[in-house]
Symmetry: C2
Subunit: 392 residues, 2 copies
């Protein structure tokens, strides 16, 4: 998830099965890969195996007004697809502008625009080696793909070898759009931030009469400091809670725990950082309400993060502080390459590698058997990663 | 494989299934995990799913004369198990002594000895931040585990729900021993080296009359330079070929290609480095012959590598050379965390994390969309990683 735009690994699928060809507009440079996990709505995680492919992305000179196809369900003016794409592109612009200002180096985000022949595309923006930020990436993407019929059937509980009415089910087209960002500052006292908000829709499969369209939202914002400064963590979590509380008082406690559970480095028995909020497969509320909630969360990134950056970007530090930050960056790499669903799935299915791996820090470090001494500032951070706390 | 001692992911299994409890001597701190790939001999890759666990390792003050259990099949004096453990422990000593001398800093390898209550153990030796070596790890281990019955049945082609004679098959105990090492020098013109040699045995399952004991060898030695210096690569490959040719003229070409195929970073479409030799599941030759072959290969590490280190350890370099080395180290991390079977399996099953991840470099770097200019020295190395060459 860190850098890939979609946790839901349906990200960029286009089934190679000949039966699915009609759902694709073209198939240049499709490479065959396999995938083993596909999440579907209603919190039902499925395991499916299928031959899938991804179209190779094509560089574009400039961003089009929209990456949406004109055809298809849910594509009309005022649709959630259209509103979500508009929101993430607006937020990308606002956040990049604010980060450039906070960086103060005069450096600008470098932009790469790309599209896929079958529809969709993305805008990757990266600022590297600035004054404040070692590496900052803010990406948006819109993806059209095809979900293998087995996955859809399993999700809907229809018969294994046919659809509900006895006909053989075909592939299920899907749409996904998201914004994803990882911000790695230089100063060891300034925390790394990750956020990601995405919207997912399946079309109603034409050959399964009565099967519904599905949609869901996912995302979250989380903080990864190298040093535990309570004032900063409390500020960050309180902004997340404020955003959640505007919609449902159960959201913050639920999504805070989900975040602690998700960003877990199992082989270390520690979390990547100090959490925030995380949710996935969210569809059991009014769709407009969740659209507004995702918008509120994305809009809360700057007020949650910029005050912390302003306070910590010039904090004096020494080589030991920097080395500890680099070790924590190593943990960030471990989480993203070993566990993060969006990253690992993106690597396996042939997503745009540079967009996926922009989440990795510019530099990282691994020391053999490093253990901070109990009671030190380094130990306090590690302890909070091992034993997640309530910050509010 | 990079740092884990065994590619064969049976490394450290002890099935949690109650039926397997009798095969284990104790089960403290066993943690439940799942695994999805278990390789068995005769080049039959199997996919199995089972609940497995690993015993937590216990630190020891000093290395015992042997990690072998006294009981069980194949444990006698002069057995291949005994000879293999003797060989890898002797080689560990010789290689560490030679590396300390080459390093010239007066620094010594730090040793961690550990054992598991159910039998087996290991010795991890690490030299960090020396004159020549940024990080050098040389590990040996001996593992007793239990292979889930499904895996054994699938390998042997017996019926799914019972053994050949109609009785339900029980778990299959196995033994594995190996040496594994990754050496990361500081100088960008001095290449990283990895080698790993291992021996694997299953016991004859007591409840499957007539089922044979199995054994196989695996391993390899490969070179990962940041700059392509043909003299060095040719020397390295020629020593590998000499070792192979003493046993079978088909070995070098076959194992050279296997190495190029194995150390492949699929999402980059490039190899980790410039290859060497790699083999696995090797059991279709005389067992003594293969024992001697593994010994010859392990004995060829120093003559293949030390002359290169001596030539390159003091080569002048600038910041650009160092940054490129750090980017290639990033690729090393990507391979090991995403693809390497031993590493990914070890992380999932709860192997000794610090021994597994000692393969990661002290420092690494990820730049967004870095592409060396065609014709540069950096480009030449990358080209050779994308298009494997014949060096001899």
């Amino acid at each position: 998830m860190a850098s890939s735009l979609l946790t839901t690994p349906s990200q960029t699928l286009a089934a190679l099965n000949p039966a699915t060809a009609r759902a694709r507009r073209s198939s240049p440079a499709a490479s065959q890969v396999s995938f083993s996990s596909l999440r579907l709505p209603s919190r039902r995680a499925l395991r499916v195996r299928a031959a899938v492919a991804i179209e190779k992305e094509v560089p574009e000179n400039e961003a089009p007004p929209t990456f949406l196809r004109e055809d298809g369900a849910g594509a009309g003016s005022g649709s959630v697809r259209e509103r979500f794409e508009g929101m993430i592109r607006r937020v990308q612009g606002e956040i990049c502008a604010a980060l450039e200002e906070a960086d103060g180096s005069g450096k600008r985000f470098v932009e790469d625009v790309w599209s896929r022949p079958g529809g969709g595309g993305g805008i990757s923006r990266v600022l590297q080696d600035g004054n404040v930020f070692e590496k900052a990436g803010v990406n948006v993407s819109v993806v059209y793909g095809v979900m293998p019929p087995d996955a859809y059937r399993a999700a809907k509980g229809t018969a294994k070898n046919g659809a509900a009415d006895g006909h053989k089910a075909g592939p299920v087209p899907f749409f996904a759009a998201g914004i994803s960002s990882v911000l790695h500052p230089k100063n060891p006292f300034a925390p790394t931030l990750h956020f990601n908000y995405r919207y997912f829709e399946t079309d109603a499969p034409q050959d399964v009469p009565g099967a519904p369209r599905s949609w869901w939202f996912g995302g979250g914002t989380d903080l990864t400091p190298s040093y535990l400064i309570e004032e900063d963590v409390k500020h960050f979590h309180s902004v997340q809670k404020q955003a959640c509380d505007k919609f449902d008082p159960s959201f913050y406690p639920k999504f805070k725990k989900w975040c602690d559970d998700y960003f877990y480095i199992k082989h270390r028995n520690e979390r990547r950082g100090l959490g925030g909020i995380f949710f996935d497969d969210l569809n059991d509320y009014d769709q407009d309400m969740l659209m507004n909630f995702a918008t509120e969360c994305a809009g809360s990134v700057l007020p949650a993060y910029i005050p912390i950056i302003e306070r910590r970007k010039d904090t004096p530090f020494n080589e030991e502080h920097k080395a500890w930050q680099q070790l924590r960056r190593g943990r960030y790499v471990e989480f993203n390459l070993v566990y993060d669903r969006g990253t690992t799935f993106g690597l396996k299915t042939g997503g745009r590698i540079e967009s996926i791996l922009v989440s990795l820090p510019l530099t990282a470090r691994w020391e053999y058997d490093h253990k901070p001494e109990e009671g030190t500032e380094e130990w306090k951070l590690l302890d909070a990663c091992i034993n997640p706390k309530e910050w509010l």
